[in-house]
Symmetry: C2
Subunit: 165 residues, 2 copies
DNA sequence: GAGCGGCGTTAACAAAAGATAATTAACGCG
DNA sequence: CGCGTTAATTATCTTTTGTTAACGCCGCTC
């Protein structure tokens, strides 16, 4: 159970935590040398959240994960899952499914960077997950799209001009 | 076995083919309405190549996959793998490992789009996989990085100015 | 209700990238 | 050897984005 602003996973940490998000929204971000924050990932209800640095790469997390909303998590220890799988191989399929699902999402996001302009990327985002507009501030969305908040504001204006209400 | 230029998987196709690349290089690309080609993915020796549209999303591939070099493939039918797993669950781990590995690579690539400038992205690419410079034309690399060939040429020039050999 | 901080917008300028076209170099082929 | 093709570079111009700073708005706190 997290309140808005609570940190789930801190940069530099290295522990095999993993959780299913029952309700709420987690944001993963990175802070560069100049102190600028960049949103790297958003994870919401019915998704899995974990530090992939820790779990996939066996290294300390380069990102901090914190809640943007009141968030309910079902937390499990990844090492326990591994052990569980030794005895109950039937869970293997579920684990595989989750990873496959996340891979599919990741590949779609890569495509959006390669094939679309920032403006198209924004339009796709609000089409795919319109509630994010209400739930996440523009500056977080902007960096998630790989642009600056100022640029996102201009894009919004351009779009408004094209589709007058 | 593929010769340079040979197509492994055609856009619109939908079959559960999957192959381990023993040697060589496969490029996946997309052609937009204006006839412009964009490189979406490169896969090389010791990696797995498959149409993720077909395998992950159960839909026709939006991309064409073709060999850039003489390429040796060990091809398997994905449906056969699924059946094999029914009887030999010990392969499950291997399959999971491959997907996890590809997920890790995908997440790294997403990061590079969110956190790096095109120039930094290019520098990272030639650092991580320098032989690609010899093996893949600049225009293919450019679109892989999400920029145009003209822009990549300018980036190269900028870099040369900064590090006069 | 005055002060404060964060956010989105806007402005002004600089830097980078896109679009298009011309030039050059390299290569294969008849 | 000349021809055609393609890739990379360069030039020019336009568009977009980044950067920095200012402004107004809103919610919060004291």
């Amino acid at each position: 159970m997290l309140e808005p602003g609570d940190i789930y996973f801190r940069e530099g940490e290295s522990s095999p935590r993993l959780a299913y998000i029952k309700e709420g929204l987690i944001r993963s971000y990175h802070v560069n040398e100049k102190g600028m924050e960049t949103t790297v990932l958003l994870r919401w209800e019915e998704q899995i959240v974990a530090s992939y640095d820790s779990i996939l790469m066996q290294r300390p997390s380069r990102f901090t994960y914190h809640a943007l909303e009141k968030t309910t998590l079902l937390e499990v220890n990844y090492d326990l899952i591994q052990q569980l799988l030794e005895t109950k191989p039937e869970f293997e399929k579920a684990r595989y499914h989750f990873v496959l699902d996340m891979l599919a999402q990741s590949l779609e996001r890569i495509e959006s960077f390669v094939l679309l302009t920032p403006e198209e990327r924004y339009l796709q985002l609000i089409k795919d997950k319109p509630d994010l507009l209400q739930r996440v501030s523009d500056k977080h969305l902007a960096t998630l799209l790989g642009i600056t908040p100022v640029s996102l504001s201009r894009i919004r204006k351009r779009i408004a001009g094209k589709h007058p209400r």
